[in-house]
Amino acid sequence: MTGRPLLTAENLVKHYKARDGDGLARAVDGVSLMLRKGETLGIVGESGCGKSTLARLVLRLIEPTSGRVLLDGEDILALKPGALRRRRRDMQIVFQDPFASLDPRMSVGRIIAEPLDIHNVGSPQERQRKVEDLLLMVGLDRSALDRYPHEFSGGQRQRIGIARAIALEPKLLVLDEPVSALDVSIQSQILNLLIDLKSRLDLSYIFISHDLSVVEHVSDRVLVMYLGRIVEEGTATQVLRQPRHPYTEALVSAVPGAKKGPRIVLKGDPPSPEAVPAGCRFHPRCPKVMDICRHTPPPSIAQGGSARAECHLYGPRPG
């Protein structure tokens, strides 16, 4: 657990032009993170909190408003387009939606071969063999080669997406909700596959999910995001068994069938990144809200070990 850093992101900010009016959507608003080699970093948070945006930012699939991303010490954001494309060999992504992320007009064989084609890996025969190996590795058989995505179930498609992502043997694999669209029985198959591949191929994961139990199961460390910021971080057990931030507490208690004490039902909807509340962004929904929360953004406060939480509860109280 003490590998050297593979990926570092510093103070990443992504502001979109708001879809409505001329305001800003603060999709990601000052996020720093660090992923060590061989580690799995889990990111949880509600829909719209900026998880996917963050994932795209660290892969530079979108350009950040500001911030820095270092992969193996190299500044990804400084790369020229051509160099960036070559660098993509080292960083890959698996998307949430196995239906949307595979080109419906490409055969599975071509889909998996595409990264090899793009990066000109080996001879055509070698590629062909590699594609077959990859299929086997993710638990599909050769007959899949000439078939098309729509002929597969969600779980199988996700396997295809994973095969495509690992084809280039990347160092970093970002998994953006890879199992959210899958059935429980399939979900466990894919999670097992991911855990297995990680050790076999020496991968490091950023694992995004809104399912706490899944994140807890696979992650070494966990970040909790709320409205574009990381409100809590720490080891998986720390964060999910002893949540410190009121938001994490609510999140953990809300899981149906979890039966860990009384359920905390938050009032109201998650506010949109186009109208970020002043002070602590969570204060309008926070059951433990204090006066200070309404105007002063909380600092990030260490919680023992590597854990931190952005909450006034743990800060010096005024007066």
Binding site: R56, L59, L61, L84, R85, R86, R87, R88, R89, Q92, I93, F95, D97, A100, S101, L102, D103, P104, R105, M106, S107, E114, P115, I118, H119, Y148, H150, E151, G161, R164, L168
Partner: protein, 283 residues
């Protein structure tokens, strides 16, 4: 490929379209063999004593035109011109429209805006005037006709393709391709254009008849295929005022255009379905 053919050949309607196209193409190619007469020979007895064209009869199966020429021969030879125009001119228009539309839709930003403003400009321009003016710079001839028609017709296609591309570009699999390190041309040609094929086919087939008719308009204005070279559109256009008195002059070439257009449409639908893997074994 073979599976494509298997699926296409199962579509009986499409197959019918293909057969019709094949027949027409063959007829065009074999015109010198099939045509009973020289298409530009104006028979002295090809007109009545009063100078009216002859209705279909034993000697002239499809009647004669207003110059006393054999309509059947003109139809056969005209197929060459009209198919060429319908396919090539329309094809080029579709090509230009697709490329510009897809680039504008995917590139967004300045390039996209520039292309779309240019399309808007072209759109705001009566195509007829554009055709006349363009043709005025260039000396008339078949290849010029093709170029002119292509330059006039791409606009609408570009618009439609643009709109469709902007929505396609949002798809996750496009982003997936970028994440793999795919270059822009690769994304355009491997991931975007294949999805535009249905739209392209619709426009390509719908454009055939209009293109053939636009050629007629150009001919009328002295910018089209030069007489006495026959072309279907021109055959209709020249004699459209005869349609009450000598209906065969209008309806025979008209039917030819409609049949070919319809055949391409049917074959196009079949092609579209056969090319679409998601249609395999689906209703």
């Amino acid at each position: 490929m073979s599976s494509f053919w298997k699926r296409f050949s199962k579509d009986r309607v499409a197959l019918f379209g293909l057969v019709v196209i094949t027949i027409v193409v063959l007829a065009a190619l074999l015109a010198p063999v099939l045509a009973p007469y020289d298409p530009s020979e104006q028979f002295f007895d090809g007109l009545t004593l009063e100078g009216s064209p002859l209705p279909p009869n034993e000697r002239f199966w499809f009647g004669t035109d207003t110059n006393g020429r054999d309509q059947l021969s003109r139809l056969l030879y005209g197929a060459r011109t009209s198919l060429l125009i319908g396919l090539v001119a329309n094809g080029i228009a579709v090509l230009i429209g697709t490329l510009l539309g897809v680039i504008a839709g995917y590139a967004k930003g300045f390039i996209g805006a520039a292309i779309m403003r240019f399309t808007d400009l072209m759109m705001a321009f009566p195509p007829l005037l554009l055709a006349i003016a363009l043709a005025a710079i260039l000396k008339p001839g078949l290849s010029i006709v093709i170029v002119v028609i292509a330059l006039v017709n791409w606009v609408q296609i570009a618009r439609v393709i643009y709109t469709e591309t902007t929505s396609l570009a949002e798809r996750e699999y496009i982003e997936a391709a970028r994440a793999l390190g795919a270059s822009t041309p690769r994304i355009l040609f491997h991931h975007l254009i294949p999805h535009l094929v249905p739209t392209i086919i619709v426009y390509a087939t719908l454009g055939i008849a209009t293109t053939v008719l636009l050629e007629a308009m150009l001919s009328f204005l002295g910018r089209g295929v030069q007489p006495p070279t026959p072309a279907w559109g021109m055959m209709i256009f020249e004699s459209q005022s005869y349609f009450l008195n000598a209906p065969w002059l209008v309806f025979i070439p008209g039917a030819a255009i409609l049949i070919v257009a319809l055949a391409f449409n049917l074959a196009g639908d079949g092609l579209r379905d056969a090319l679409d893997p998601t249609q395999r074994g689906r209703r």
